[in-house]
Symmetry: C2
Subunit: 209 residues, 2 copies
């Protein structure tokens, strides 16, 4: 799993919780440089490897975050690394705006994909075909919707890696029997004034107002 | 949020994602000693404060993990700290087996509470009244079921701290519109052989076989 400053904590730890123990695979967090990586707030975690130390991975997971939008736009070593890794992965996956980083790496051209609801149109910038689904699988590329969708993606990916029984056991172990307290998880269900507020916040933050 | 070696990553980061930005509150991770704290696997994160540096907190969140069962059984400085903090909290909360640590601190006597499905009976050891619900609120104590239930608890707690609109906006921002891939999130819905397998794994791990 690739980390970078400004990634969203749950984007990473949702799929981590599903995937970390997959038999036959060794899970590692990786970043541009070894060491601590923060979400831009009060969460800081360790990436024990740098991208230079990994020239091939079986499974790549790219979490999102507001920072991912900018990283995708600017390009750079992380985007180059994603492109290089993708050539040899079994699975290349993203959560939330991590999809834009896959897109920037040039691997979503004509690929059906999803991302955070706010950024669905941004997928077109990278030639992807936006699909309003929680998880979208196309060949070896799996993209998940915003933040918490990484848990659903992680369990589906785990089924590919370790089989249905194993994935079901992990779902039971993490007691993933969700009971969202509000009807507010997607613009299709959220109160319109709530959607307008969150959209407005991002429009302002990203200078799209 | 209290961290300790062997906590479960998603137990912590689920509610973190909900609560970190609560207006009027400053979120911090705390551990017995400042510095890095690991889950016993490939996840290590930073606790920027030690328990000695905090003599009062408005809101306490105690995540679970297999280590929590042992910590609750043994007692010690973390359990003492929980007891001391609880005297002045607005809210004292737990995820998963974090409830056993609250119990060990003596604050669940006759309190309806929940925890990971595997440990429901362990709650009685600490005088609590097990309730088979995803999130149980009793006075200022809120307990959540296993691992991923911390997301639901975090959003409900956020409603208390910041109001319904704010909590709904955060749910939308984290696109918490779950689509579990399997009917396997709780023993009531999981295939019986899956439940037997996971239960057997814990029985063996904890010497309860």
């Amino acid at each position: 799993m690739l980390l970078y400053p400004g990634f969203t904590a749950l984007d990473a730890i949702g799929p981590y919780q599903a995937l970390a123990g997959a038999p036959g695979y060794e899970f590692t967090f990786v970043a541009e440089r070894r060491g601590l990586v923060g979400n831009g707030g009060s969460f800081t975690m360790e990436a024990p490897m740098s991208i230079d130390e990994l020239d091939q991975v079986a499974v790549l997971v790219v979490p999102g975050g507001v920072a991912a939008i900018e990283l995708a736009h600017k390009g750079g070593p992380l985007i180059e690394w994603i492109r290089a890794m993708h050539a040899n992965t079994q699975w290349t996956t993203s959560v939330c705006t991590g999809a834009l980083m896959l897109g920037a790496a040039g691997i979503l051209t004509d690929v059906p994909a999803t991302t955070h609801w706010y950024c669905m149109d941004d997928l077109r910038t990278y030639g992807a075909v936006p699909v309003n689904e929680r998880v979208v699988e196309h060949g070896k590329i799996i993209t998940a919707a915003g933040v918490s969708a990484g848990i659903d993606m992680g369990l589906l990916l785990l089924e590919h890696l370790a089989g249905t029984d194993y994935a079901q056991a992990v779902q039971l172990d993490m007691e993933y029997d969700p009971a969202p307290p509000f009807q507010s998880g997607h613009p299709r269900s959220a109160p319109p004034h709530i959607t307008a507020h969150v959209k407005g916040m991002y429009d302002q933050m990203l200078g799209r107002a």
